[in-house]
Subunit: 328 residues, 2 copies
Amino acid sequence: MAQRPRHREAPLTKEFARIAWLERLFARTHERGTVVLGIGDDAAVLRPASRLLVWTTDACVENVHFKLSWLSAEDLGWHSYNAAVSDLAAMGARPSGALSSLALPCSIDRKIWQGIARGQARAAKALDCPVIGGNLTRASEVSIHTTAIGEARRPLRRDGAKVGDEVWLVGGVGAAAAGLSVLMRVPEAKWNSAMRTCVNVWRRPKALLQEGLGLIGNANSAIDISDGLAGDAGHIAEASGVSLVLDAEAIESAIPTRAKTVSSLLGCSALDFALTGGEDYALLATGKSARRPSFARRIGIVERGQGVWLESSQKKVRLRAGFDHFSS
Amino acid sequence: MAQRPRHREAPLTKEFARIAWLERLFARTHERGTVVLGIGDDAAVLRPASRLLVWTTDACVENVHFKLSWLSAEDLGWHSYNAAVSDLAAMGARPSGALSSLALPCSIDRKIWQGIARGQARAAKALDCPVIGGNLTRASEVSIHTTAIGEARRPLRRDGAKVGDEVWLVGGVGAAAAGLSVLMRVPEAKWNSAMRTCVNVWRRPKALLQEGLGLIGNANSAIDISDGLAGDAGHIAEASGVSLVLDAEAIESAIPTRAKTVSSLLGCSALDFALTGGEDYALLATGKSARRPSFARRIGIVERGQGVWLESSQKKVRLRAGFDHFSS
């Protein structure tokens, strides 16, 4: 959206017609003082209230992160936008705005790209994070690269976990992975209500911005769970030079009942979904027991050492890895 | 690069090994006070000196913007980075940093993605615009989505052109398009010295940041030429509600001699290359005659009306369109 249609009086070419449509749609998402200049120039211009900016970029690529048969175009716009803004939530930032770099096949149906944009616009409204620019290009597959900026006086980082901290989980885990498994393995005609619920959790995640803000001043470290609880706990452990010991029972209790039902129907372990499935966009944090906010659930402790461990009444095992884009 | 390898002691999986390598490479590009937190967390953290931020995103997609046979991987990293930062030049901004969202086929040779990153790192150094984060994902084709932030006290916009302004060109035009034609039509074994020069202009553009800064306080409007002089002049005309009348002879004199030689060898018009070929990343601006900087060339005037016109001693014709990603 760095460009505008050049000749409104001439028959509009596809690209400029698309940009004009997107410009009108996204203009409604920004009515805020921080946006000095939105879509329609070489770049957007922002005047943030504070001087400390948190800046992220995230990608959703067809046949890697999704198949178009798995969700509606509007779901896709919503999903990709929340996935990107979730990084701001993890840093305890308040969103300023986002740019959307959209790559589309030449032959794509108008309903699809307009649906994607509508989903982005709805998410922008819901998250109070306006779309203020972007880019549009051809490609052989659909991909959405979203970059978002937020403001945070004291950004939460991965490297602040301290020995003696509790490990906190904010939000549920496992339902998105269960939903994704349903999409990959069960024809829609055979979905029951629990399956439908889990699929919707995967299709429509919500970046936990309010909760992220609520962690500031309380948590010593934080991350969003995009690659699975085990892997993202590993990021905190490594960055902070500590070990995270997770309590299997406490994690079980953070798995929604419907995700357990679906796991059982699919012959899978709900705990596995929770540990290795990302895309619930829950937040993982650590902090002192006395500082735990009411919305956070204690699921473990921070100890000296390294790595992530899972402890149950029977045993304590070391966990490894999450989703690897280049090996799965 | 929002993530780090999780288990350094375990055999590194491909993704995390790649991220660790990129983290080390790009760490060398930022030694500046504005970067509070670089690669390795959910998001980067910046503390810009000024409150007015200019923010852009740009994409380079395989088989749309380039073929891997047309340039080295390092050229590609350099090219894509300069193309993105050129938007900051057009706004008269000083770069703060960039995030790189890189999509790569699973099977890609290590030399290629490392080459791309080396080209980005070199461009980052040359432009004083550090790579402070990003994202890495699988895809079926190579694509690089670069988002860049700069600071500008008074950003230059497209909509400020005034009747009576001169039209200024900063940098040469036509050589990149001539080089691209050579790549598409002439086997490398048959290139002469002029062809090689033009190909190198296309492969290694340079964002005109210093010139963009030099336009501030002098120009009333500005844009970078990424889609061709005619099309980008059209953006200024439309945004400003004016007409731009370009002088064919003055444009001819801004076409490098080697681009003219190549055009002649290919049986093409050098003026066509200048008007419709983008990717020289020259700057187009308008301003009062008395304010024209020494580095800017007068190539036309701003008049009442609409559209872009090309005037020569024989005739005056209206120009249309540039590169359309969805129709060519």
